[in-house]
């Protein structure tokens, strides 16, 4: 997705979480987390907030729109 950067992978690994764990915590499938990390999916505001809370990183640090 042009202009969209996702730093989820870095922060998730810092929190020592697997994709599966994060996915079940925020109520999505692992594939969705995978796509997010590859910046191939633009999440809803709710999902973005849930993820930011799960990895304890501000939302603007995780998702960057240039």
């Amino acid at each position: 997705m042009p202009g969209f950067e996702c730093r989820l992978k870095k922060y998730r690994q810092l929190k020592e979480m697997t994709q599966e764990q994060l996915a079940s915590q925020v109520g999505v499938r692992r594939e969705t987390i995978m796509r997010l990390e590859k910046a191939q999916y633009n999440p809803s505001l709710k999902l973005a907030i849930d993820i930011s809370r799960a990895v304890e990183v501000p939302i603007e640090e995780l998702f960057i729109f240039k």
């Binding site: 994709q19 499938r29 594939e31 969705t32 995978m34 809803s44």
Partner: protein
């Protein structure tokens, strides 16, 4: 449907059938087969002996009406469950084989030539059942927001393609001069519409599968 309801429906069906059989026997034995053999409704005059046949026919019609209402109620209940469901419905991909029934539509060419009957062309609709193959592959998938988004995207794309084809058919075939014959035009239009609906049914499932499993990249955990 609950078990008690199913039993009641079956028992009512059997009763209606038995009543109809008894009424038919009575009519054949004691009423000159009236109402069984074809009659002209304009010349019909009521006789008391017609009552068994009339009552059983009315009961039979009421039973079919009851079955129709049950069907509608089940469809609405299923739609409600689908809306609140967390997982995609469970379906065997082999049900996609029903798509081959679509080839029955070709019988229409034969029946049109022999009996001027064009209804078999509607069987082309079954081609849409090939979509069950892809839906079955996604059985019990947890429907998260990406899945629901993809579902809507696939449905919208399928509708767009199908309606574009129908629109084109309206413009081209709708001129009504296909091979200089209005009947051929109607048949061509029927086939195009039926195939477009089948394509819509198939594409909505196929595209959902494609969008969900789509772009080729490593799906392994980091």
């Amino acid at each position: 449907m609950k078990n008690n309801n199913t039993k009641l429906t079956i028992i009512l069906g059997i009763l209606c059938f038995l009543l109809m059989a008894a009424a038919s026997w009575y009519t054949v034995a004691y009423n000159d087969s009236r109402l069984l053999s074809p009659i002209n409704p304009a010349e019909y005059t009521f006789r008391t002996q017609d009552l068994p046949m009339l009552i059983s026919t009315v009961l039979f019609i009421l039973y079919f009406f009851y079955l129709f209402l049950l069907l509608i109620r089940e469809i609405i209940a299923n739609k409600r469950t689908e809306r609140t469901a967390q997982d995609a419905r469970h379906l065997d991909p082999r049900l996609g084989c029903f798509g081959f029934l679509g080839f029955l539509g070709f019988i229409g060419f034969r029946t049109y030539i022999t009996d001027r009957e064009i209804f078999p062309f509607v069987f082309f609709l079954f081609f849409g059942f090939f979509g069950f193959f892809y839906e079955g592959k996604m059985s019990d998938t947890f429907m998260d927001e990406r899945y629901r988004e993809n579902e809507l995207r696939a449905q919208a794309k399928a509708n767009q393609i199908a309606s574009s084809i129908i629109l084109l058919a309206c413009v081209i075939v709708g001129q009504g001069k296909l091979m200089g014959n209005l009947e051929y035009t109607l048949i061509a239009f029927l086939i195009v519409v039926v195939l477009s609906i089948a394509l819509d049914l198939f594409l909505s499932k196929y595209l959902l599968y494609r969008y969900d499993h789509g772009s080729q990249f490593d799906e392994s955990e980091d």
